[in-house]
């Protein structure tokens, strides 16, 4: 084996080891966070503040994204369906598309953009300015005070946001279909209701929960492990959003495989 080849293999090996150790650290961090869920003390005020930030304040962006996506989906399905003489499948496909895939994924990505970045930047700034150290010296565990309330809020707000996104997305499709494509409103609603199953809705909620967890966890993980100075805060924020977005899409694939191919 040539020296150049050895260098390439060595670099690949180092990359693999780094990736596996990063994954290991992340898993340990997630387990440590979850281990705090049932152990007092509980910081209720921090939890409700986080719930407000993750859930309620995300509603406008989630709602608008879902509305336009549902509307565009209806137009696309109508246009695509017409090629097979099946434009009438709009209500069914909009419903299944929004509930099974687009609703959860859009919510996940919106939370990653809005919440993950904000958590990471806030915590990284706290770390850089020694506020995390100050917390520890004041007998308060950062995992319990900062991480757990946010992750728990993500777990709870995720499904609620997905339910909102699903509903508004379907409503967006309904508006376009009934106002511009000539669908009968009552028939549209009936077709939507008849086509969706409880498994669709449950899978949507489960995805929301998983994506809420991933988004908030990534923000906390990268924030608490940020480098020094303004550059460290920027790098942590960027890395947290990238990781959250990729993990959400990967988790979406896995969950879809589990729910719909088993």
């Amino acid at each position: 084996m040539s020296a150049q080849m050895i260098l390439i293999v060595r670099a690949l090996g180092r990359l693999c080891i780094d990736a596996i150790s990063a994954l290991g650290r992340l898993v340990l961090f997630a387990l440590a966070t979850l281990s705090h869920v049932f152990r007092p003390p509980f910081y209720l005020r921090e939890f409700f503040t986080a719930l407000l930030n993750v859930g309620y304040l995300s509603l406008p962006v989630v709602g608008l994204t879902a509305l336009f996506t549902g509307a565009a989906l209806a137009l696309q399905i109508y246009s695509g369906g017409s090629r097979f003489n099946a434009p009438e499948v709009v209500p069914q496909i909009v419903a299944i598309g929004m509930v099974r895939e687009l609703g959860p994924v859009l919510v996940g990505l919106m939370i990653a953009a809005r919440v993950t970045s904000s958590i990471a930047a806030e915590m990284a700034t706290m770390k850089v300015t020694e506020q995390i150290d100050a917390l520890v010296t004041l007998s308060t565990a950062p995992m319990k005070y900062l991480v757990m309330p946010r992750v728990l809020a993500g777990l709870m707000a995720g499904p609620i946001l997905v339910a909102v996104a699903d509903s508004i997305g379907i409503f967006g499709g309904f508006i376009v279909a009934t106002q511009t494509l000539g669908f009968n409103p009552a028939t549209y609603i009936l077709n939507t209701m008849n086509f969706l199953t409880s498994a669709d809705i449950l899978s949507s909620m489960a995805k929301g929960m998983a994506f809420g967890f991933i988004a908030t966890l990534m923000g906390c993980y990268y924030g608490l492990n940020s480098g020094r100075g303004a550059q460290g805060v920027g790098a942590a924020t960027k890395a947290s959003v990238q990781a959250a977005a990729v993990l959400i899409l990967a988790a979406n694939f896995l969950l879809t495989a589990v729910f719909f191919t088993a």
Partner: protein
């Protein structure tokens, strides 16, 4: 009494603490002076568990700091950080009364606020500062608030990590004088 026994700490190739042996007796005030990056802050942080030494032992009143109950142990300490390290998401009085709002030292809200205002007065700040946010204060005022927070729960041991960093000479003198007074008061 705090005892450092052969403490070593490195950050990569930077060997910051090289076998520190030091004893600080009860009631004693000790000042550590040194250039930037010589490990003064790191030494303090090893006692509080914020930095783990590579080797050596730290004893507080004969007890190894790694073997103690963290909450009870940390409640014996107050710390003034270099940059103040005030929580910018909460008003000044909540910063000062942070320890009095949760955990073993928890007090009713009104009482905690009253203590915070009293401590603020002690460091020369008016009560109306209590409801302002740290970002609205000058550097000197932030240091005073941080000092008030360090003494709020009346700890046995207080660490001052470069308390006058970033302050002008007049404000540095004021903070130094305050620290001297508080140290004398608290014995």
């Amino acid at each position: 009494m705090i005892t450092f026994e052969n403490i070593h700490k490195s950050f990569g190739s930077n060997h910051v603490l090289r076998g520190v042996n030091l004893t600080v007796e009860r009631g004693e005030s000790m000042v550590i002076i040194g250039g930037s990056g010589t490990g003064k802050s790191v030494l303090i942080k090893t006692v509080l568990g914020l930095v783990e030494p590579d080797s050596g032992r730290i004893l507080v009143d004969g007890q190894d700091v790694t073997q103690v109950k963290r909450d009870a142990f940390l409640s014996r300490f107050g710390m003034l950080f270099q940059g103040g390290a005030l929580f910018d998401s909460m008003p000044v009085w909540q910063n000062v009364a942070f320890r009095l709002q949760r955990g073993a030292l928890k007090r009713p809200l009104a009482e905690a606020r009253e203590i915070a205002i009293e401590k603020l007065r002690r460091v020369g700040l008016a009560p109306d500062v209590a409801d302002r946010f740290p970002a609205e204060l000058s550097g000197g005022m932030q240091k005073r608030v941080s000092l008030a927070r360090a003494i709020a729960a009346e700890p046995e041991i207080i660490f001052f990590d470069e308390p006058t960093t970033g302050l002008d000479p007049i404000m540095s003198g004021v903070i130094n004088e305050l620290i001297r007074e508080i140290v004398v008061e608290m014995g």
